[in-house]
Symmetry: C2
DNA sequence: TAGGTAATCTAACAGCGTTAGCAGAATCTT
DNA sequence: AAGATTCTGCTAACGCTGTTAGATTACCTA
């Protein structure tokens, strides 16, 4: 007939090649910045010419999309590893802040892709964006278990996360000038959100 | 003689055309993102062809440099307008935070250029960078007059500035979801830095 | 008005993402 | 095993990018 199955064994090779391309893409993006990624060079890195990449990805934007989704999967892994102790909100937030700064510093390209509009024309597709929203909502849930439920307080905290990470990356890459403020920031924040309102 | 004066009246026209180019550059950068700026379109906007721009700027990077310096001059103007009241640290910081978020939101392109690495290959020249450092140090001085001198506390505050502004721009452009937290953030911060240490 | 400089142009180069059309290889079907 | 099909990679090309070289025009100065 005409439209047969998508060939089950072919699909394996295809996915493996896709993964190989993404791996090379991260390497090059780390070297040249996320927006500096060149399809011709990326293709050469996996032994191809540029047009052949279009067999595996519809466009450069689709490559960014796959990387974006990969980034949020990795962030979810970090969040999952983090042990949440409702009895020690400060300690939990401290570790969470440190983990987030570490996550951002571990890959500048990933940070640029996930949290800044560093790629001129690109923005995540609806599906990729949905993954980021899901990750965000999981954080909301975690914070709620620490007793933080006021939306304003939650926004204030995301500001702290974002602020420490972006300052660390922009003004002390490779160092810990802002990362080491995690404890102090957590204390300041928890003191603030619990002040006046004891118990419930 | 060979190398005569740079012609005093010619220089006026030249500077005016430079300003005209920069003005158009901001307009286009606002529309397409700072990295999406096209020299051919920029030239067309001022009635030229692309190569003619090289009479006024050595390269596209030089245009970014001029815009970068302009941005810091505008930021300095904001800081200068801000009245510093040592008797009301919270109020002063609140207004300062609001002003900074407003400054960032007033021009996404300017924010991208000044505070993010949104332009692939470009980074400010030593002269342009020096202007940003000078602006930074003026802020340190202002903060010191509010009694904030501990470098750690200062870094924590820059994190708050950066965090509120970047979250506002990324997740609620045009709104005030993070901007309106300025008061609360200032209270939280001042409470923290003054706790335990009264007087001197 | 003549001379010289400054400003602008066209043509071109190497790079970019992307598309069209074609060759070859790998697979599935008979 | 042979034929039909699909899949993967290629080359050539288009229109875009920043940039340079060289020629030409416009303008200020003397």
């Amino acid at each position: 007939m005409s439209t047969s199955t998508p060939t089950p064994v072919r699909e394996r090779r295809r996915q493996q090649t896709r993964a190989e391309i993404l791996e090379a893409a991260w390497r090059l993006a780390e070297r040249d910045g996320i927006a500096g990624l060149s399809l011709r060079e990326l293709a050469g890195e996996v032994g191809m010419r540029a047009p052949s990449l279009y067999t595996y990805f519809d466009s450069k934007a689709a490559i960014y999309d796959a990387m974006f989704a990969q980034g949020y999967r990795e962030l979810d892994a970090v969040d999952t590893d983090l042990e949440l102790d409702p009895g020690d909100a400060v300690g939990t937030l401290e570790r969470s802040l440190e983990a987030f700064v570490d996550f951002c510093c571990a890959s500048v390209a990933r940070f640029q892709l996930m949290f800044t509009a560093a790629v001129p024309g690109w923005e995540p597709s609806p599906e990729a964006y949905a993954a980021s929203v899901a990750s965000y909502e999981r954080s909301v849930e975690g914070l709620a278990r620490l007793g933080i439920e006021d939306p304003r307080h939650f926004d204030l905290l995301t500001g702290l996360y974002s602020g420490l990470a972006s300052q660390q990356l922009a003004n002390d890459p490779g160092g810990d000038r802002w990362r080491r403020l995690s404890r102090e920031a957590a204390e300041m924040y928890v003191t603030h959100v619990t002040q006046g309102r004891r118990g419930a």
